[in-house]
Amino acid sequence: MEKTNKLNSKDLINIGIYTAMYLVVFFVVGMMNAVPILYPISLFFVPIVTGIPFMLFATKVKKSGMVFIMALILGLFWFALGYTWTPLVSYIVAGILAEIFFKVAKFQNFKLIVMGYCVFSWGAIGCCMPMWVMTDTYMAHIEEEMGSQYVTQLMQYMPWWMGIAGLGIIFIGGLIGAALGKKMLKKHFKRAGIA
């Protein structure tokens, strides 16, 4: 295949395959979300497990734009699944940032790729964001019904800074996930001849 910087069909199909893997893994791990208390925990576990498909994807990324397209599609998918517009925005931002990391790393420097992966994982925060964005309107509504004391109590359990803490949790999870992904690459995929 000729060496250009343009994405050819094979790259595009690769993006599709790895996005599908990422989505399925994300879904299975994200099942824990059914219980709201587990939200923070799943934020931690999702990037760990998705690290495996993503690091495999990272070995295929040799051209700019691939990571961004993946993020864009993930955002569109969450949007289509009814998580409103917040994941779309968060994934586009995360995709652009991750793309910059990959570009600076020239798609080879492992440390920068790990950083790129952590930043990429931040996109997932958009799936939880409707809770915080919409609680604003929701809080105003229940304040009329139940008085302000109740609202302040509720805000104690679901504070807005959970979002920022979530970013931190995701970042740590991402670091572990990338390490795990790298280990799996060495242990299995290199041997199978596909990394």
């Binding site: 994405l7 050819n8 069909s9 094979k10 595009l12 199909i13 690769n14 993006i15 599709g16 395959i17 996005t19 599908a20 893997m21 989505l23 399925v24 893994v25 709201p36 497990v49 495996i52 498909p53 495999l56 734009g65 397209i69 993946m70 864009l72 599609i73 569109l76 998918f77 289509a80 699944l81 009814g82 998580y83 409103t84 517009w85 409707p130 809770m131 919409m134 309107t137 929701y138 509504h141 229940i142 109740y150 109590q153 509720l154 359990y157 679901m158 799996m184 299995h188 995929f189 199978a192 596909i194």
Partner: protein, 246 residues
């Protein structure tokens, strides 16, 4: 020379919509849920529409599950003031009700879109919206691959069950990490292999070609789309009327 008639795909049965209509309707429902949040009849109507669409499309089981959960949430919303619960429990209940009421209509709509849209219809309608090929091909591949991954995962589960690698066995509790490794890695490897074959097949059929491709999917503005359009206008007017009144 003998003339062969051109292949004409069968007309789709049932209540079929253009993929573009579905997407726009989805955006409308999501936006309206966000704007009108305290009018219960309105929310019920918004949830009822995707419910009907799911029923018509044949996803009766999912529709009933979603629908009954939603109805439960609506009932709970009305009776939650009767009993005084402890603060913490009450907070969780209120949040759960809010999540179900707020997000379920869009969840149902999203599920309907994914279940009812065929990949070729989707691609050809998006091409008419001039969406770039760079985004379209990966999305089409995702559509193609998610069911494949489910199948592969099923067979790997069965293979691993023979070795006692599943939830709940002694082996599992000794090292829970293994279930992840033994299930996920074979899945990823087989999917990569299938993907390589798929891309070879797609390239030989001219996916890499720079010439514009044609498509036989029958899409366009039909009677059904007109019905959805009328419903949408009605919903918008109702939302507007509610806004004026309050």
């Amino acid at each position: 020379m003998m003339q062969y008639p051109a292949y004409i795909p069968e007309k789709r049965k049932g209540f079929s919509l253009d993929p573009r209509t579905k997407l726009l309707f989805m955006v409308l429902i999501a936006t309206l849920m966000f704007v009108v949040y305290n009018n219960m009849p309105y929310i019920c109507v918004l949830a009822g529409l995707p419910f009907l669409l799911l029923i018509v499309n044949g996803q009766k089981k999912t529709a009933v599950i979603y629908g009954s959960l939603f109805v439960l949430a609506v009932i709970a919303n009305y009776i939650k003031d009767i009993a005084t619960l402890p603060q913490l429990l009450n907070g969780i209940v209120v949040l759960l009700i809010a999540l179900v009421l707020r997000l379920f209509p869009t969840f149902m709509m999203g599920y309907y879109i994914i279940k009812s849209t065929k990949a070729d219809e989707f691609v050809s309608s998006m091409e008419r919206w001039h969406v770039s090929k760079k985004v379209l091909i990966p999305i089409a591949v995702v559509f193609r691959f998610v069911p494949t991954m489910q199948e592969e995962s099923q067979s790997i589960t069965e293979a691993m069950r023979m070795r006692g690698i599943q939830f709940g066995t002694k082996k599992f509790w000794k090292s829970p990490g293994t279930i992840l490794e033994y299930r996920l890695i074979p899945l990823l490897i087989s999917v990569v292999k299938i993907g390589d074959e798929l891309s070879a097949a797609a390239l030989t059929r001219g996916l890499g070609n720079s010439v514009k491709r044609t498509n036989i999917a029958q899409i366009g503005f039909s009677k059904n789309d007109a019905i959805v359009l009328i419903i949408s206008i009605f919903l918008l007017l109702w939302a507007f009327a509610l806004g004026v009144m309050s």
